[in-house]
C-alpha cells in the first residue's frame, strides 16, 4: 500500500490519483504547485483566487528590442528567462545520465507531463528562433500542431509550445 501525501489515505500500489482526495500520487521531485495552494486560507480568512498569484500570466506585449527570450509555464506561471544567442536544450535533468538541460521542466511536473530528458532544442538563427523536437516520446507542439522529429520550425513571440502535455508560452523580451 502507499499513502497519499495530501490526505493520508491508504491507496493500492500503482494508483495514479488518490481515490479519496484526487491528489496525484506519482509526482516526482518537488511538488507541483496545486491550485489548492492558491486558495489557502490566510489567518483563517479564505483568500480568493483573484488575490493569489495570477494563474495565467497576462498576454504578452510584443517589443521590438531583441535581447533575450523567456518561456512561461502556463499552469504555474513560472517564467524561465534565457540568454539568447545559443542553442537551448529543453528537457528534464538526470544526474545519473549526465543530462543537464538549459530548461529543466522537471521542476514543473515535467515527468508527470511526459517531458523527455532530451525533449527539444531552441536554436537561434537570423530569422528568429527555431524549435526542433529531438524524437521525444510524447511530442512537441506549436500552437497545437505536432512537430515531426528533427525538423526545426520557426517560433514567434506569443506562440504556445507544448512538451508532452506541459504547456509553455514563448516570449521574446
Amino acid at each position: 500500500m502507499i499513502r497519499c501525501n495530501h490526505c493520508n489515505a491508504q491507496q493500492m500500489n500503482g494508483t495514479i490519483f488518490c481515490s479519496e482526495c484526487g491528489a496525484s500520487l506519482i509526482v516526482e521531485g518537488p511538488r507541483r504547485e496545486t491550485t489548492n495552494a492558491l486558495n489557502r486560507t490566510v489567518d483563517g480568512i479564505p483568500s480568493v483566487v483573484e488575490d493569489g498569484p495570477p494563474m495565467v500570466v497576462p498576454a504578452p506585449v510584443p517589443v521590438a528590442k531583441v535581447s533575450g527570450i523567456c518561456l512561461v509555464v502556463i499552469n504555474s506561471g513560472r517564467r524561465i528567462n534565457l540568454e539568447s544567442g545559443e542553442e537551448l536544450l529543453v528537457g528534464r535533468k538526470d544526474n545519473q545520465r549526465g543530462i543537464y538541460p538549459d530548461v529543466d521542466l522537471g521542476l514543473d511536473g515535467g515527468y508527470d507531463a511526459g517531458v523527455s530528458r532530451r525533449h527539444a532544442i531552441i536554436v537561434p538563427n537570423r530569422k528568429g528562433y527555431m524549435l526542433e523536437d529531438l524524437g521525444s516520446s510524447n511530442g512537441t507542439f506549436i500552437n497545437g500542431t505536432r512537430l515531426a522529429p528533427q525538423s526545426p520550425t520557426l517560433i514567434a513571440h506569443g506562440d504556445e509550445l507544448k512538451f508532452g502535455t506541459l504547456i509553455l508560452r514563448f516570449e521574446i523580451a
Binding site: 493500492m12 500503482g14 490519483f17 482526495c21 484526487g22 479564505p46 483566487v49 494563474m55 502535455t165
Partner: protein, 422 residues
C-alpha cells in the same frame, strides 16, 4: 481483413514490479471500425420530440425549438417515423407517430405549439413512450429527444421509471436542458443508461443546431447492441468501468458469474470516438509474463447485415524485479484518468454539499480544478475554482456554475470539443 470493430488497449504501465500485495492498473480501451463503409445505408429513425411548452419557454426559446423541429422534418425521410409530444401542466400528442411523408402538414402542426402554464414532465414522457412504441421496429434506431427549461415537481420518480422502461426496450433518451432552472440531477439520472445522453444548452440560439446534430448522430449509427465482456484472471477484479469518450459516464457492469463482467454499451453513432477506462486490481504475481484479462466485444452491424459479431483482445502484463521497473505511466491513459478523476471529484462535491459538508465539498472542487488544469482545460478549471471559492464564502454555489461544472467535466457542453492529440 473482415469488416468489424477493432479493440485497442493501452495499459497505464505494461510492466509491474513484483510485490507481495495487490496493485492497481488502468486500462484505456479504444474502439475503431475497420472495413465498414462510411456510407452504409442509414438505419430508419424512430424519433419522438418531447418539448416543454411551459410559459418560460415563450419567445426565442420556443421559436428556436420550432425552427429546430422544422429542420428535423427536413432531414427525415419516408423510412423515418416522427412524433411530437408537448407538455406543460398537461401533456398532449401534437403529432402522432407517423412516417415523414407530408412535410408541410408536419410543420403546420409544429407551428401551432404555444407556450403557457407550468412544467409536468412525467405525463409528457409517458405519452412519448407510447408514441415511440407505435413505430418500434426490430431494425432501426428509436430515440426520445426531450427539451426542458424548468423543474418538474413531484413526478421525478415517475420520469425515471418511464425512461427506464423505454431504455429497457432499446429506446434511448437525449435530454437537453436550457437556461438555469432545470433539474440537472433528474436529467442526469434519466440519461444514465446506454444510448442516452444529456446536454446543457446555454443559449437559445444553439437549440436548432443541437437538434440537427443529434438527428445526424442518430442517422450515423452503424453498430448496435454493443456488449462488453471482461474475463478477469483468478484473484483479480474490475474496480470500475467508465466511458471516457465521447463523454464521461460511469458504465454499469454486472458480474455475470465469477470473474466475468458484462456491460451494455448501446449503439455507436459513426462520428463519436469510443473509449473506456477500466481500473483493474492485479493480485501478486510471479516474475514473468501473464495474461491479465480478456475483453470481448459483441455487436451487430445492421447496415451490412452482420449480426452477432465478436472481437476480442487479451491484455498481458509483465512482472519484473522491483528495482528494474520504471514508474513512468502512459500519458494518454493518465490524461483520460485525470478527466475522469475531475468528474468524480465534482460529483463527490455535490454529495458533500447536500450532506452539509461545505468544506469537504470546496476541497473536492479545488482538487477537481487542479486536475482540470493539469489536463489542460483551463477555462473549466477557473469555473471550478470560482465555485469552490464561492462555496467557502457563502455556503452556496451558483446554479449556472454548477451546471457548467457537471456538464463540462463530462465533456458535454454545447460547442466545446474535447479533441486532443495524444
Amino acid at each position: 481483413m473482415a469488416p468489424g470493430i477493432q479493440l485497442r488497449s493501452t495499459l497505464s504501465r505494461s510492466v509491474l514490479p513484483d510485490a507481495a500485495e495487490e496493485q492497481l492498473i488502468y486500462v484505456l480501451l479504444e474502439m475503431s471500425a475497420h472495413g465498414v463503409p462510411t456510407s452504409t445505408p442509414k438505419l430508419p429513425l424512430n424519433l419522438c420530440l418531447v418539448i416543454d411548452r411551459s410559459s418560460s419557454m415563450r419567445g426565442e426559446r420556443l421559436q428556436q425549438v420550432k425552427e429546430g423541429a422544422n429542420r428535423i422534418v427536413d432531414m427525415l425521410g419516408e423510412e423515418d417515423c416522427l412524433s411530437l409530444v408537448t407538455f406543460n401542466d398537461r401533456a398532449e400528442v401534437v403529432i402522432t407517430s407517423q412516417r415523414v411523408r407530408n412535410k408541410v402538414d408536419l410543420k403546420r402542426m409544429i407551428g401551432g405549439v404555444e407556450a403557457a402554464g407550468g412544467t409536468e414532465m412525467a405525463t409528457g414522457m409517458a405519452l412519448a413512450l407510447q408514441e415511440v412504441q407505435r413505430a418500434l421496429v426490430s431494425r432501426g434506431v428509436s430515440r426520445i429527444l426531450l427539451l426542458t427549461d424548468g423543474r418538474t415537481y413531484g413526478d421525478e420518480g415517475r420520469c425515471v421509471e418511464i425512461v427506464r422502461r423505454a431504455q429497457g426496450r432499446g429506446v434511448g433518451l437525449t435530454a437537453l436542458g436550457i437556461g438555469n432552472e432545470w433539474n440537472e440531477d433528474l436529467l442526469e439520472t434519466m440519461s444514465a443508461r446506454e444510448n442516452s445522453r444529456t446536454q446543457y444548452i446555454t443559449s437559445a440560439s444553439e437549440i436548432s443546431q443541437i437538434f440537427t446534430d443529434e438527428v445526424k448522430r442518430m442517422h450515423s449509427v452503424f453498430a448496435q447492441d454493443m456488449n462488453l465482456r471482461a474475463e478477469m484472471r483468478p484473484a483479480s477484479r474490475l474496480r470500475s468501468l467508465d466511458r471516457v469518450r465521447p463523454f464521461i459516464a460511469a458504465v454499469q457492469a454486472t458480474e455475470e458469474k465469477d470473474l466475468i463482467w458484462a456491460a451494455n454499451l448501446g449503439d455507436w453513432p459513426g462520428g463519436d470516438p469510443q473509449a473506456f477506462l477500466l481500473e483493474v486490481v492485479v493480485p501478486p504475481l510471479a516474475i514473468g509474463d501473464h495474461p491479465l484479462l480478456r475483453v470481448t466485444l459483441r455487436y451487430s452491424l445492421p447496415g451490412m447485415n452482420l449480426l452477432n459479431q465478436e472481437g476480442n483482445v487479451v491484455l498481458r502484463i509483465g512482472v519484473r524485479q522491483a528495482a528494474s521497473v520504471n514508474y513512468a505511466v502512459d500519458v494518454t491513459v493518465k490524461h483520460w484518468l485525470e478527466r475522469l478523476v475531475a468528474y468524480r471529484l465534482q460529483a463527490g462535491a455535490w454529495q458533500d454539499m447536500a450532506a452539509g459538508r461545505i468544506e469537504d465539498a470546496s476541497r473536492r472542487l479545488q482538487m477537481a480544478g487542479t486536475r482540470l488544469f493539469d489536463a489542460g482545460d483551463v477555462d473549466l478549471a477557473h469555473t471550478v475554482q470560482d465555485e469552490a471559492t464561492r462555496l467557502l464564502r457563502s455556503g452556496q454555489t451558483s446554479a449556472e456554475g454548477r451546471k457548467r461544472i457537471k456538464y463540462g467535466t463530462r465533456g458535454l457542453m454545447g460547442g466545446e470539443t474535447q479533441e486532443r492529440e495524444a
